[in-house]
């Protein structure tokens, strides 16, 4: 028997596999396909203070080994999520939920997190700081250690739940941002969000995505994400959720060896709606093959001094 359970800042997950924000909605579509209770947790769609309509079409492009998206944080807004989605989630999933929260000002992040304080099923807040700060000329919170720390502090003051800051990879040194979040009181980190990229249509000679640029994700980003998790693991002492390009149980194990305590799976769900289920079902075999009896002991296992 392999023990798949892991712990994230005191929250126990029965296994480390978590569908990543934006690829799993609020669980509805996948609940029609399989019992979500097999999941360690799930991270819901990035939710903001107001409803957001998102970007114009087209929002999606393809590339070798992955995809680009410029959905633009389309979501119904926190109040609607509390009234319509939270009760429904309780019906389809009884495990711990990770609430992914977006914002466009420090106050908005704090306010959104405050509103989630009484939602018992939300056990972890995942704060997406790959959002433009409307009070700083649209500069990403996640690209500036000071801004990242400010958001962390404000959110920590607004909640008693563990706060995981979700980092953008579009920076020169991700460990600098990671340390700033840790110093500001973050209970954990989640990385990486999508990498900024673009595609151009050869015939029209225009960007494929209406927004011009989009976020790159999928198997092609796996080595990039892995390297960042590795570096951040060496730089901080708080738990890391590894995310980026994971599509197999082997990828998940590799992510944990680099330093992840749990693993998020994003774009793979869009290609194969059963991706997380398949990963969870094959994890015990992969562990057995590798002589692992306690999965949580893998975290950071590739760092040898």
């Amino acid at each position: 028997m392999v023990n798949l359970a892991v712990s994230l800042a005191g929250v126990t997950l029965k296994n480390p596999i978590i569908p990543a924000s934006g690829t799993f909605g609020y669980g509805r579509e996948y609940a029609e396909l399989y019992d979500l209770n097999i999941l360690g947790s799930f991270s819901w769609k990035g939710t903001t203070g107001q409803a957001r309509l998102g970007n114009p079409q087209p929002r999606i492009a393809e590339m070798t080994g992955g995809m680009l998206n410029a959905v633009g944080l389309q979501n119904p807004g926190i109040d609607k999520v509390l009234s319509d989605e939270v009760p429904h989630i309780a019906e389809i999933f009884q495990g711990p939920v990770i609430a992914n929260v977006g914002g466009f000002s420090v106050e908005e992040y704090a306010e959104n997190c405050r509103k989630l304080e009484d939602v018992k099923q939300v056990r972890i807040l995942e704060v997406n700081i790959s959002c433009p700060n409307v009070h700083a000329g649209g500069k990403n919170f996640g690209c500036d250690p000071k801004a990242a720390a400010e958001v962390t502090k404000a959110v920590k003051a607004a909640t008693n739940k563990p706060v995981f800051m979700k980092l953008t990879p579009n920076v020169t040194d991700i460990t600098e941002i990671a340390r700033a979040c840790e110093d500001a009181g973050a209970d954990g980190l989640c990385l990486i969000n999508t990498l900024l990229g673009m595609r151009i249509d050869l015939k029209s000679r225009r960007p494929v995505i209406a927004n011009r640029t989009g976020g790159v994700s999928g198997p092609a980003v796996f080595p990039v994400a892995l390297r960042m998790v590795w570096d951040v693991y060496e730089a901080v002492n708080i738990p890391i959720i590894g995310c980026g390009g994971v599509s197999t149980a082997e990828d998940a194990v590799e992510m944990m060896l680099a330093g992840a305590a749990a693993v998020e799976v994003g774009a793979a769900n869009l290609k194969d709606p059963y991706a997380c289920k398949t990963i969870i079902e094959t994890l015990p075999d992969v562990c057995q093959r590798l002589g692992v009896t306690n999965l949580s002991q893998l975290t950071g296992g590739a760092h040898h001094g």
Binding site: G25, P58, I60, T64, V71
Partner: protein
Amino acid sequence: MKKSFFTLEHTRQLTEDIWELIFSGDTSAVTAPGQFVNVELPEKFLRRPISICDWTADSLTLLVKEAGEGTRQLVRFPSGTRFDVLSGLGNGFDLEQAGEHAILAGGGIGIAPLYGLARRMAERGHAPVVALGFRTKTDTFYLEEFSALGCRLLIATEDGSLGTKGFVTDCIRSLPECDYVLTCGPLPMLQAVHSLPQLKGGQFSFEARMGCGFGACMGCSVPTKGGYKRVCKDGPILDKEEIIW
């Protein structure tokens, strides 16, 4: 929705760039004409959404136009190739809404889902009038198939090489009693059909670049009068009244 394997049984070239592909597999998830499947291709990350042209309990017909690398691959696989397919996606056409004077209007590859629709209408005892638009005579396909259902066929070609010279809208205008349309085709065609004053209502099939095809990613959502809708889950068929151009 169902994820299962379909086996390519037969490929037939219909025009220079359009092919008919017949697969065997479990179609139990398909509930209405106008729904689509999302087909996984080797070496492509995203699946390719293709309308269901027709289906029986254990077979599926798709009409595929070579539009890019993926569709060029798709029409060239040998019989016996197995594909991972998400089937029964989208809402499909609502036959109940189509009254006495409904017309089916298709342009180019957009006629694919209209065939399955026409067949089901014919089976209910009323083969519909079908207006089909093409660029030129050599681009036409599936005309005998529609005729075999007992449909009255109106053809428009842009150069007049077959049927009416002009567009599918010219065919619809020639039948002023038609007050309801079920349509699929390129965006400019849909827009022109939508603006016909004789129409009291209709159902329009839309396309969008898709991330998932089953409602999870918001990659395909478009504004409608009833708020944003996902082309893959709330569509691809939108009601005439809710469309914003």
